[in-house]
């Protein structure tokens, strides 16, 4: 009965397991994914290779976004030079062609890189939903260590398979240093 009421406790964001090593986190991520949990996130002070893939995350939107931005930059660069020099204000310099494309390569290249770089930075931040100064995970016990020397795995309460006691017990089987509950801010 108490378990049933707890599943409906909307104040619980999820359960957080703390690990002492990157390898421990990677093993736990694999086990959690194999167990069938879907709304899981791992937190680490530096990128641990394989963890996002172990959680079933294989996104490649950022590279595509950069490619599209780069192409847009190239079009903008060559378009700017063509339109200003050939259409809007053609100027005859020693009889040379107005659309002198070999001379337009440097500016086109610079525009490509500039746009692509903005695509990379803004795209990465936007897809990550940053900046976002506050997040329920920051309420986690000792979560300030996630940017220092500890590794965390959180199974979120929105997971269809989430069930307070069983989920907690499952996390405890993963050789975690500690398992704790993460709550939403009280005023939520």
């Amino acid at each position: 009965m108490s378990e049933a009421t707890m599943t409906h406790d909307s104040k619980v964001y999820g359960y957080l397991a703390e690990f002492e090593s990157a390898d421990g986190l990677l093993a736990a991520a694999k086990a959690t994914h194999a167990e069938g949990y879907a709304k899981v996130e791992a937190y680490s002070p530096f990128p641990v290779h394989g963890v996002s893939e172990a959680l079933g995350f294989h996104e490649a939107k950022v590279p595509w976004l950069i490619f599209v931005s780069g192409v847009a930059g190239a079009m903008a660069g060559i378009g700017l030079q063509w339109w200003t020099g050939s259409v809007d204000y053609p100027m005859n310099v020693g009889g040379r062609p107005n659309f002198a494309w070999p001379q337009f390569i440097p500016v086109t290249f610079e525009c490509t890189v500039l746009f692509a770089a903005f695509g990379a930075v803004l795209g990465m931040l936007a897809l990550n939903g940053l900046p976002r100064p506050n997040h329920p995970i920051f309420n986690g016990k000792r979560f300030e260590l996630a940017s220092q020397d500890r590794f965390f795995l959180c199974i979120e309460s929105e997971d269809p398979k989430f069930e307070p006691t069983a989920t907690r017990r499952f996390l405890e089987t993963l050789n975690a240093h500690a398992v704790s509950e993460v709550r939403h801010d009280d005023e939520d």
Partner: protein
């Protein structure tokens, strides 16, 4: 685990843990008592004083005009262009270290990349001042941009390398700043979480953008960072190539040469590594970072300096060869004038500083001796400045018509502005060291995690890391 790389073990020395690395690097910013006192204040004060000289030189320049400089016919490109090329070149080592070495998976870069990227940004800021002021009317500098006929009734001339330069340098500055900032976000989060006082907690909380180290975030972050490195690599090559095209596209003897782009890029890296070492050698000592910026880093940077120095020296020899092999009278005269004309001292000092002095770096003993290395770096910085002086001045001061020959020397305002930008650079570097993490904390920790993963479990470093510093 990845195959064990025997080199990885010496990149971070001593018994370390994640927490000890956080303390060594991050707490320099958070705990102001960790700052080295007078060793910070003295260079900072020198930089700040010279910054005032720069402000004075700029103020007088804006109110009087470029007539206060030594430029006149036939040398219209004096110190402004020399210093511009010198500073841009110095900046290039930062991008080389952070982007090109990343693509080549040279993990030793992790200890020096942040520092070198900061140098890039500050050097480009110094560089930008010169062409801006050289325009004579910096308040209409926006004419360089394609603003449109509504305000100007004309467009920039895109067939001119000088316009390419505007695009190249402004793109380079923007992309370098983005790369630098993105690289710092996870470190800002570390500082936010370690801070105990309210102000650093809030300030780093804002700039960290709420970074929480989620694996999906790291996934996208690494994709973006790697591709940014891939973009920066051709960018840095393009920037100095375009700078060299300012010269090479003209028809002036000594400038009109196809070797210019690669020769300029090599010179840029050469000067840049000299400047990185100039700062890294004292700073690693003052801030007790010898275990992160190890002698191996110092030695390898010295080796890169030696290698790029040889490229540059080869460039000098090629210039001489082609001046004679071309059979062009003007080219031959230019080269003889460089070597034996009124500026012979500049040419031969340049050969001595850039060509001969660095040859002592063939000796491992000297590469390991930071005092001598520091002196060699000074020679290289002076030599690279003289290289640009020789290129700009000797080609212009005696051109095709002997009736228009002349001499060029910098005035007190030229020197004031030049020394002033050195002060500006020093000022910014020391502010950076005090208030921002000067070594990439998360990359050093990642490197450390691979080191402990590659070692047998009984080693003390592993034991210490696993026990942890908490509780």
């Amino acid at each position: 685990m990845a195959p064990k790389n025997p080199l990885e073990e010496t990149f971070i020395e001593g018994e370390q843990s994640y927490a000890s690395l956080d303390r060594a690097i991050g707490d320099i910013v958070l705990d102001q008592k960790r700052q080295p006192g007078l060793k910070w204040w003295v260079p900072f004060a020198i930089g700040f004083t010279l910054l005032q000289v720069m402000m004075l030189a700029l103020t007088v320049l804006v109110f009087t005009g470029t007539g206060i400089w030594g430029i006149n016919n036939p040398v219209g490109w004096g110190f402004a262009i020399i210093n511009f090329v010198w500073w841009i070149g110095i900046g290039h080592a930062g991008t080389l270290i952070s982007a090109i070495l990343l693509l080549f998976r040279q993990q030793w870069r992790n200890s020096i990349n942040r520092f070198a990227e900061a140098m890039t940004i500050f050097a480009v800021m110094c560089a930008g001042i010169f062409p801006l002021m050289h325009t004579g009317r910096p308040w209409v500098a926006y004419w360089l941009m394609p603003i449109g006929p509504d305000t100007l009734r004309m467009w920039p001339q895109f067939r001119s390398p000088l316009v390419w330069d505007v695009f190249a340098v402004s793109t380079y500055f923007t992309v370098s700043a983005l790369f630098w900032f993105i690289g710092m976000i996870p470190d800002f989060a570390t500082l936010r979480d370690r801070a105990t006082k309210v102000f650093p907690k809030v300030a780093f909380g804002i700039v960290s953008m709420g970074w929480r180290g989620a694996s999906r975030h790291w996934h996208r972050y690494e994709q973006a960072y790697l591709i940014l490195a891939g973009l920066s690599t051709p960018l840095v090559l393009s920037v100095h190539s375009i700078v060299s095209l300012d010269f090479a596209v003209s028809l002036i003897p000594g400038w009109h040469a196809t070797i210019f782009p690669p020769y300029f890029v090599a010179g840029a890296v050469y000067a840049g590594f000299a400047m990185v070492l100039t700062f890294a050698i004292p700073v690693r000592k003052w801030y007790a970072l010898e275990h992160v910026i190890t002698m191996k880093h110092i030695e390898w940077m010295a080796k890169i300096m030696l290698a790029t120095g040889l490229f540059v020296f080869y460039g000098y020899l090629t210039e001489v060869f082609f001046a004679f092999y071309s059979g062009v009278e003007w080219e031959r005269f230019m080269m003889m004038n460089r070597m034996t004309g009124p500026y012979w001292w500049a040419y031969w000092t340049l050969i001595f500083c850039n060509g001969l002095v660095p040859q002592i770096l063939w000796s491992k003993k000297i590469r390991q001796n930071t005092a001598i290395l520091f002196v060699v770096c000074m020679f290289v910085s002076i030599g690279m400045w003289l290289e640009r002086f020789v290129i700009v001045v000797t080609s212009l001061h005696r051109d095709f018509l002997p009736s228009s020959w002349g001499m060029y020397f910098g005035t007190v305002w030229d020197w004031g502005l030049y020394l002033g930008t050195i002060g500006f650079f020093t000022f910014l570097m020391f502010l950076f060291m005090r208030f921002l993490p000067m070594i990439n904390i998360f990359e050093v920790k990642e490197l450390f995690s691979r080191m402990i993963g590659a070692k047998p479990a009984s080693s003390p470093a592993v034991a210490k890391a696993e026990v942890g510093a908490h509780e």
